[in-house]
Symmetry: C2
Subunit: 200 residues, 2 copies
Amino acid sequence: MSGPIDFYFDFSSPYGYFMAEKVDALASAHGRSVRWRPFLLGAVYKITGDVPLPSKPMKGDYAKRDFERSARFLGLVCRIPDIFPVSSQHAARAFYWLEGKDPDLARRFALETYRAYFRDNRDISKAETVLDVAASLGADRVALETALGDDALKAKLRGECDAAIARGVFGSPYVVIDGEPFWGVDRLPQIERWLATGGF
Amino acid sequence: MSGPIDFYFDFSSPYGYFMAEKVDALASAHGRSVRWRPFLLGAVYKITGDVPLPSKPMKGDYAKRDFERSARFLGLVCRIPDIFPVSSQHAARAFYWLEGKDPDLARRFALETYRAYFRDNRDISKAETVLDVAASLGADRVALETALGDDALKAKLRGECDAAIARGVFGSPYVVIDGEPFWGVDRLPQIERWLATGGF
């Protein structure tokens, strides 16, 4: 009788992508569902003063190597996109619009958007790319394009970012299970044990 | 016919402590030895502009929880010391002085110093604590106390810090295997696979 797992991520985060490929199956194996919550790391960094990993002295060079090695370790395909990192607000807004219509479609859209970026090197910062991915899954392209310009959808994403920050989310991926927070795809073994044992 | 693993760490780093408890047995299982290399995170942070984890907005609160949970996950005992983090230059200098006499003694000193700090809540920033730990392992307390004041030993540690930085070490623990760098105790599964397979 346990509640859903909350999965916070930014569409421009490679470790978020890796978690996106893993989290549903892992949760499902333990009888849990997952609430996917895209947010904008940029909104968090305004508060923490943090900067994107690739811009950090020394750590940035390591990170590029670690992205690709971690993908191989997890059995995933990942190449650092030519344009990286990017703004992900169109993708995140599209997710929340789709979620309002069909939560399962929204989740499939999130995973396909990640793959478009980290597998197929498509520029997901462009509304055009986001619309293409959504349309390929059967979403109403024209209605979504209109929604992306609406203030209501922008406000929805701002509200989701504020809620994530209020909950302590400072990085991507960030998973919360029964109130316990796990930052980073490298916490997968701890997440698995937590789900299996109910906490340790 | 593979060379030793290089293990860089700061004595004030809890994740460095966890790695210290694990790295020798893991390396040994794959026929490798380990070169223990204490350095000062403070010297690195002067270059990277980074700050200690506990001081970071949002991330600091998470980190304290993660330290203790990660210890439990790894089967280790760890409590955040009352004074944390601390300057670790006395401990690092003592290590290099001991290493010049007896490398095995130096390694045992490193592990016992970590335990004194993260298990027994002793203030390892004090020369007195460092001398107590070394003496308990049979080191010459008076000679070490004299050496801790010598410019030669201070220069030795500065040289080791410069060498670590030149190699790209930006955090603790940082492990290098055949030129491949691994940052963080959460990279233990990748390190294990790397040692088992010769790279992936």
